[in-house]
């Protein structure tokens, strides 16, 4: 099976290993990955600011670049939601758009729904807290939102649970927003910061060593707060855990990793 790999701009530029880990996870499962080099950004920062006309050309580019792949896979729930739920305004009626919406998938979603995977072959012997990033959680419905009265499920957590040696922690507020929110993080710097600190506090009381998520943007914000405040928490994208990366850069890594 061939997939077009969609790597969000900030992952490309700031967290290249998350992209590499995604490639490794997919290839290990026999997926043929192709990264179309022309891609840049889905346009979410502009769209979320309301700059519709500045988003349109990026949506059009995206369609042109990815329309011929059988699947488009991306390690970010937020950017996938942009394509699936918010491109309507720019691309409705364009040839190939309906298919694009159907076949653009977040990594965990692709593993579970398309490949039918329910076990990940990796080892990560650490206490891990899952941050349910909002767009993946409430727009892509990767998990059951706590507000809804529906049967609980969580695709990301389910995959994580299958990782060898992992211990998932229980949070007091399992799906509260971390306060990143794209430009919100700078427009509403004070509130955004308080939201992030409260998440860290929750992970600390739950005993997480590592915070993981299917969205690196939330983790970037949380990591910025962790480092500024000298906390001992670490962040890792789920793809990095799935790819078998050790707990990196922390003093704990050497003592706890085998």
């Amino acid at each position: 099976m061939q997939v077009g790999l969609f790597i969000p701009c900030y992952i490309d530029q700031l967290f290249p290993d998350v992209g590499m880990a995604t490639v490794e996870v997919l290839e290990k499962l026999g997926v043929q990955v192709d990264f179309p080099i022309e891609q840049t950004c889905c346009g979410q920062p502009m769209a979320n600011t309301g700059c519709i006309e500045d988003t349109r050309p990026l949506a059009e580019r995206f369609l042109a670049i990815f329309r011929d792949y059988p699947y488009v896979v991306c390690p970010s729930g937020s950017c996938v939601s942009m394509v699936r739920h918010h491109y309507e305004a720019y691309l409705a009626g364009r040839p190939g758009f309906e298919e694009l919406k159907r076949k653009t998938m977040e990594l965990c979603e692709f593993l579970v729904q398309v490949l039918g995977i329910d076990r990940i072959d990796a080892r990560f012997p650490h206490r891990v807290g899952l941050h349910n990033s909002c767009h993946g959680h409430r727009e892509l419905r990767l998990g059951a939102a706590s507000e809804l009265v529906i049967r609980p499920y969580n695709k990301v957590r389910k995959l994580l649970e299958s990782v060898d040696g992992i211990q998932l922690t229980e949070l007091e507020r399992p799906d509260e927003c971390c306060g990143f929110g794209g430009t919100f993080a700078v427009n509403e710097q004070a509130v955004s910061t308080l939201m992030g600190l409260d998440r860290l506090q929750d992970h600390q009381q739950a005993g997480s060593e590592v915070i993981t998520a299917a969205d690196m943007s939330c983790l970037m914000h949380l990591d910025g707060l962790i480092r500024r405040n000298g906390k001992s928490l670490r962040v890792m994208h789920v793809a990095q855990i799935f790819a078998g990366r050790p707990l990196s850069g922390s003093p704990l890594a050497t003592s706890l990793a085998k």
């Binding site: 290249p16 519709i52 500045d54 990026l58 700078v186």
Partner: protein, 461 residues
């Protein structure tokens, strides 16, 4: 239209400066959200109820004129008097006229966000009428000369110590008292006098039933009953979106309302008023004040489905940490951020941005107002109407220009990485760097993903 605009982030700074208070406020509201969760999860068919409620509201809004006329006809038949108010001003004048005709100079009110929206209290006070809010929380903020900071819990931002101090000054309770029971008792005694003196009672309305002409008021303190049965004159102020077609529809809405609002299965008092009490008068004022305009709005009409339960405020991570006053609008939180710009887009342009788009409000809303989608839609409108500050607008133009071309994008990435690596820390974390005020910047790697990927594939081939 006001000339100046308010900036939520700036207003929020005043509240966020006091960390312990923010934490306390957040936890008080999260407690209510948790109670709501427990109550909702105890109702198996909750999602079905939400969907039904949403459909009833959609249907009713589509045929609002017919249902309003039906309501009027039936209310008249029951002996009520019905008044129509185009806007806040007309509403206030109608209420004043009724009061003056009856020689009223002391009025008791039960909770009504509509009269807050119309700024009725100051208007009546200017005309020499004493207005006493009888809902405990409302009374507290009234004594402090403040507006409510929440639509269901008007005094949620005030600590019990502060209430104790306020009551000591205004009601003569013991100084330093903080026991909620004692303070509530004191307020009760004080309000009882006011009830007895009052010549008229005014209430808001939660639902107005078209097929019966009855109005329904939900309270926890029974103050609506007292305020409207002790005095002979009852004025009920109703926003025109409060109409439901049938009495049976209440079976859906009453189950949703209290659970969503406070996590109670039902409010302590659900008062049904069908015409005036014997020997009394019931005046129903139907108020538009912009609602017809919203109803006709292709993008935002669904915000009229709102039943003012407050659940979206309780769940909103921003509201909980920025406080009700940071919105500078009668109705704060997610629903207020949709309604605010509908009333005055220039003044309230920043409200749709006071949101991380987490979507919790949309999922919690008992009538399925697509709140966070509407907030995003509003942002597009704000830009289209040229209300976004030019700096932000320009930033997005530049970023979009860069991203439209792969080479520009790659070069900008290199440049940014280089700048972050080589700029001295004191210069990098400057006062314009809003990210860096409280967070470290990410460490820019030397190679981007696309470079690593190309290198690897080059080796493989």
């Amino acid at each position: 239209m006001s000339a100046t605009s308010c900036n939520h982030a700036k207003e929020a700074d005043r509240f966020t400066a006091d960390r312990p208070r923010v934490q306390w406020h957040d936890q008080a509201l999260w407690f209510v959200r948790a109670k709501r969760d427990a109550a909702a999860h105890a109702v198996e068919e909750w999602e079905q109820l939400r969907e039904t409620a949403s459909q009833i509201k959609r249907h009713t809004l589509a045929r609002l004129p017919e249902y309003l006329e039906q309501f009027e006809e039936n209310a008249l038949r029951l002996g009520a008097q019905v008044h129509w108010a185009r806007d806040a001003d007309e509403h206030n004048r109608i209420v004043l006229r009724i009061l003056q005709q009856h020689g009223v100079h002391k009025l008791v009110k039960s909770k009504s966000m509509l009269t807050e929206e119309c700024h009725l209290n100051p208007f009546l006070e200017q005309h020499g009428i004493e207005v006493v809010d009888t809902d405990l929380g409302e009374r507290i903020v009234q004594l402090r000369d403040q507006p409510p900071s929440h639509i269901v819990l008007p005094a949620i931002h005030i600590k019990k110590e502060e209430v104790g101090q306020l009551f000591h000054q205004c009601l003569g309770t013991e100084s330093g008292a903080t026991d909620p029971k004692y303070l509530t008792e004191a307020a009760r005694g004080h309000l009882r006098e006011k009830f007895l003196e009052a010549q008229a009672g005014l209430s808001g309305v939660n639902f107005a039933v078209a097929e019966t002409g009855g109005v329904i008021v939900c309270t926890n303190e029974g103050n609506a009953d007292l305020g409207t049965s002790l005095p002979r004159l009852h004025i009920a102020c109703v926003g025109i979106e409060k109409i439901v077609p049938r009495a049976a529809d209440l079976a859906v809405f009453l189950r949703l309302l209290a659970r969503s609002a406070t996590g109670q299965p039902i409010t302590t008092y659900t008062s049904h008023f069908h015409g005036p009490i014997p020997g009394g008068e019931l005046h129903i004022v139907l108020v538009d004040n912009g609602r017809s305009r919203i109803r006709a709005d292709r993008q935002f009409w669904e915000s009229l489905k709102c039943i003012r339960c407050g659940a979206c405020l309780n769940t909103c991570p921003v509201y909980r940490r920025s406080g009700g006053y940071s919105y500078q609008h009668t109705i704060p939180g997610p629903i207020g951020s949709v309604l605010g710009p509908l009333q005055d887009a220039k003044k309230n342009y920043s409200l749709p941005y006071a949101c991380s788009l987490c979507g919790s409000c949309t999922d919690v809303c008992p009538v399925k107002v697509p709140l966070h989608h509407q907030l995003l839609t509003w942002r597009g409108e704000i830009v289209r109407r040229g209300l976004l500050p030019w700096r932000k607008w320009l930033e997005m133009k530049v970023v979009s220009w860069v991203l439209r071309n792969r080479r520009r994008y790659q070069w900008s990435g290199k440049l940014a990485g280089w700048a972050v690596r080589w700029t001295p820390r004191w210069m990098l974390y400057n006062r314009l760097n809003d990210w860096g005020k409280s967070r470290e910047l990410p460490e820019f790697p030397r190679k981007s993903f696309r470079e690593l990927y190309r290198n690897r594939n080059g080796r493989n081939q």
